[in-house]
């Protein structure tokens, strides 16, 4: 299908899927679809069931939590090339925060159930996938820790 081929090329260019076996890439592309979010539109919200993850092609997304009295607080922003969402991997598969587009954002949304079942069938695919996801989460965690240190605060 036209859409799948374009997606395959897309994945081949992305950091996340770049060195993956082309056959696997093709398989994963089959679980993806192009989506667009307008500025201010929610990609997903806290509490929703999580069965998708997104690869941002172009745009900027704020990861937010709504705090009573403070409104939505942005914890982090992600952009081109970043992966958003990990709750689909981990039970109880509920979104832990809001993801809201700050500008026009084009992304690829991957069907989490589809990917999980493919990984179950082919553990090697599963390993390659989780390897990459672990890197993403590690980097995200590392950056979060630095943020937490509040290094620029007045001592």
């Amino acid at each position: 299908m036209m859409e799948t081929k374009t997606l395959e090329q897309l994945l081949a260019e992305s950091d996340f899927f770049r060195d993956l076996d082309p056959a696997y890439r093709q398989m994963l592309a089959g679980c993806g679809r192009n989506v667009v979010f307008k500025p201010g539109e929610y990609m997903f919200q806290e509490g929703e069931p999580a069965h998708e993850f997104h690869l941002i092609r172009k745009g900027k997304v704020a990861l937010q939590i709504k705090v009573p009295g403070r409104g939505p607080v942005t914890l982090q922003t992600v952009q081109d090339g970043d992966v958003v969402g990990w709750a689909w991997l981990v039970p109880p598969h509920k979104r832990q925060y809001d993801a809201r587009a700050l500008e026009l954002t084009r992304a690829v949304a991957f069907d989490g159930l589809c990917i999980r079942s493919k990984c179950e069938q082919d553990p090697k695919l599963g390993y390659e996938f989780f390897k990459r996801f672990a890197l993403v989460m590690a980097a995200r965690l590392s950056a979060m820790r630095l943020q937490l240190l509040d290094l620029y605060a007045n001592p």
Binding site: L75, S142, L146, Q147, L149, D150, Y152, N154
Partner: protein
């Protein structure tokens, strides 16, 4: 294009006969940058006075009867008759400085220390990574680079601040962003409502910054933890250790390498630094309580 990796650091300009003697400079004005940060604008007491400094150097500033502290020069090196220092209010001396009025006199000793290698980096892409008040000692380098812009490749500024309200030189930042020959990316650790820019530590801006790691020189300044992690990201992207420069800070009493306070391992931050090449700093930055 060659990055002159073996070149020596810029040596301090020769100071007056007795480098421990303060020269009087007049306060022009004090500009409030953020809640706790201000810029001191000084002019020489007599008409012919000026201070030729190199970007990255610092002065020892003395408030009469209160004390003396090292502060990086944050102004334009092509304007030696206006001396700018941006500092945070963190102790007795900076508090006293904050209370000064135009016309008050401050004692100045300097300029001391090594400089950002702006000359040696001609031909390279320049990546400037600033964290918090670290933008202040980097601003003179940016001015100098912009004054001879065509001698450099891509010039990128990455700036991380605590919150949007804590950003320094906001108007200037916006002016820099508007230029076509300069890329500016800013991020904050903590957003305020209405902020639609990046949120996250400044290191997250490095993987995607538009520069060529194999021919780039990086100037980094900010809290030491931030600099350590920034170096990690730069190395990951393929910037060479000898092409990364950091500006360090230590307790200083003399500023001229004689009182011993500013040592980090074998380095005297006041005369071997404050701008130090990363490969020369080697392990000392990793050694806890060194």
């Amino acid at each position: 294009m060659q990055i002159r990796s073996g070149s020596s650091q810029n040596i301090a300009m020769p100071a007056p006969a007795d480098p421990m003697l303060a020269q009087p400079w007049c306060v022009c004005r004090i500009v409030r940058e953020t809640d706790d940060t201000f810029t001191l604008e000084l002019k020489p007491q007599n008409r012919s006075g000026q201070m030729n400094f190199k970007p990255g150097q610092f002065n020892m500033l003395y408030v009469f009867g209160v004390g003396e502290i090292p502060i990086s020069i944050s102004g334009d090196p092509t304007q030696p008759r206006i001396l700018l220092h941006t500092t945070r209010e963190v102790g007795a001396v900076t508090r006293a400085m904050r209370q000064l009025k135009p016309g008050d006199v401050i004692g100045v000793r300097g300029p001391f220390g090594t400089a950002w290698p702006v000359d040696e980096s001609e031909g390279a892409d320049i990546l400037i990574v600033a964290g918090g008040i670290g933008l202040a000692p980097l601003r003179p380098a940016l001015y100098r680079i912009l004054s001879r812009r065509d001698l450099y490749g891509r010039v990128v500024l990455l700036y991380g601040a605590r919150t949007p309200a804590d950003m320094l030189y906001r108007r200037e930042l916006e002016g820099w962003r508007a230029r076509f020959d300069l890329e500016v990316y800013a991020t904050v650790d903590r957003a305020m409502s209405g902020w639609r820019g990046n949120v996250g530590v400044v290191t997250t801006l490095i993987p995607r910054a538009p520069f060529d790691p194999s021919s780039a020189v990086a100037f980094v300044c900010g809290p030491e933890v931030m600099m350590r992690f920034t170096v990690d990201e730069l190395l990951k992207r393929g910037v060479q250790p000898h092409a990364i420069y950091l500006s360090l800070e230590r307790n200083m009493k003399c500023g001229i390498g004689l009182c011993g306070h500013c040592q980090l391992g074998p380095l005297f931050v006041c005369k071997d630094g404050p701008v130090l090449r990363y490969d020369k700093l080697a392990d000392w930055l990793q050694k806890w309580e060194a």
